[in-house]
Symmetry: C2
Subunit: 329 residues, 2 copies
Amino acid sequence: MAIPNPAPTMKDVAKEAGVALGTVSKVINGIPVGESYRLKVEAAIEKLNYRVNSYAKGLKKNKTFIIAVMVPNLINPFFCKLVNCINRSLSQRGYRMLLCATDYDPEQEQAYVIMAEQQKVDGIICLSYNPNLQVTEGLPLISIDRYFGSQIPCVASDNYGGGALAVRKLVENGCKSLAFLRVGSKLTNEPNKRKDGFINACENLDIPYVLKIIDDGVPHSEFWNFLREHLHDGKLDFDGIFCVTDSLAHLTRQALREMGLRVPEDVQIIGFDGIRRFGDMEYTCSTIVQPVEEMAEACVNMVLDKGQSQVPSLVCLPVTYAYGGTTRK
Amino acid sequence: MAIPNPAPTMKDVAKEAGVALGTVSKVINGIPVGESYRLKVEAAIEKLNYRVNSYAKGLKKNKTFIIAVMVPNLINPFFCKLVNCINRSLSQRGYRMLLCATDYDPEQEQAYVIMAEQQKVDGIICLSYNPNLQVTEGLPLISIDRYFGSQIPCVASDNYGGGALAVRKLVENGCKSLAFLRVGSKLTNEPNKRKDGFINACENLDIPYVLKIIDDGVPHSEFWNFLREHLHDGKLDFDGIFCVTDSLAHLTRQALREMGLRVPEDVQIIGFDGIRRFGDMEYTCSTIVQPVEEMAEACVNMVLDKGQSQVPSLVCLPVTYAYGGTTRK
DNA sequence: TTGTATGCGTTATCAT
DNA sequence: ATGATAACGCATACAA
């Protein structure tokens, strides 16, 4: 034989079983056929180790059971957890996942969308930093954390509520004065509402606060400078810090430690995301936990439903507080 | 119109451009055609926003540019980093990745292989815990960390050398007596060689050692018991510990801390994997770093090459030592 | 209930 | 160089 292993086709199965092509197709798709026929076909499938060619099927049915999932990378533990949960949800529904890591590059994001269109995936779930992503109408697309407009459903956690919750927890634990620390994209995305929730809660509770926001690319030493400016006689001007992510909280904690300040005795810190050590151990800091599993479920439900039923344009899911050693409780 | 958005086909493009179907195909595939034709076709493609249907193409060419990647989950940071690197390598070569998370379940692993066969992927890269995985011959498969036999190439880091390196580093840092701690699968996989390397180095250097190995499912309190047994008058019988993973090193460090022992002053610890905080910050402990990027490259090269050239049956890549706070240096 | 024929969107082989 | 046409493997409407 010249060709080593020409994968068997339905035609081969039909010949092997001594039945017609259509009959094989029916057996495979669970359409009732005569018992004796079914057995013969099943035996032939087993014998030849036949596998449906999903490309021929996809071509025919215009449905592929594949969803493209786009995230910046699989280094950040939050993205990992998100992808892990999305994968599970898709898997439970018989869907598969085409993974796209964009490295925060708008060009790559756009290229992946085009790829997904060619690939004829059944939908896209994306966490994009490209403010003007072009997508063909008709291809279901769900966005995470970024609102593109009423036509593109967005799933996010309750960032605003989370910001406020952090303030409440810090105040409950005795803080009298707070700081807000943020680093990252200045795109108007959902996570930026963490700041708004923070400010609103501080003002409602009559708590003095200070904000420090640095953009991407600025060195983290900026935070050190900020902290040092607010350090007088070995004491900070504030006794509680809300960091916009857990990783920033981690950096802040290290900086404070080097400055001789104790966490949580002198300063308390609350982060955001709910990252655990090694993915599933203790929280890395006291934190506002994003409901990742629920977010994944929501994305998957919506991307599969889209086109059938009307879907909301923004879904915000509730966050919770978790103790992780950087607060008094 | 009843149908909302019937994606344009090559036929539509041909009609729009006023040329024949074959000409369009040639333009798309970069086969030379007359300049004026090419321009007309390109204009039509642009106008209709035409995208090649990869299913029709895959059906025709029997090649899909998709590789299935199978790992237990995307919670464990090591798996995440691995998938991240594999994705990048594939992407650079114009391939896409179908992600399969198996949750350590042999049945799911087998199901995913069958799925991959149907999907007509061009190959599989898998980190499997199923000792007797069935794969159709002819479908290129590369295994990570687990040797299935000479027919299935396996990529791993130099686990044996890593175990020995850990011993050398501990001894260089003044350790006189060592312990080896392991938890996990008792399958005969590559990572189990870490123990062999450890033992061999200890015997070569004439260092006394003790082993503690617990299997999956046994509660971690077993380690506590082990450590307590070896604690006499506030001192351990050994002053250096090699843990088989960084996460185990983390647990051990916590346990020692609660027992009033200082790391690294009283006991030094070296882990394995090279996990960093939040994916890209400091190492979580002093550790033997796996060359994840090189492993990913090797897998991708081999899975794409397979069938063309002869590939080795086992590739071991060199590990390095990194300081991470749990050793004196 | 079973078999036959047509078409899905491409590529490739052939005349032109 | 360009255009018509036959496959690729499957599902399905239709005929038997």
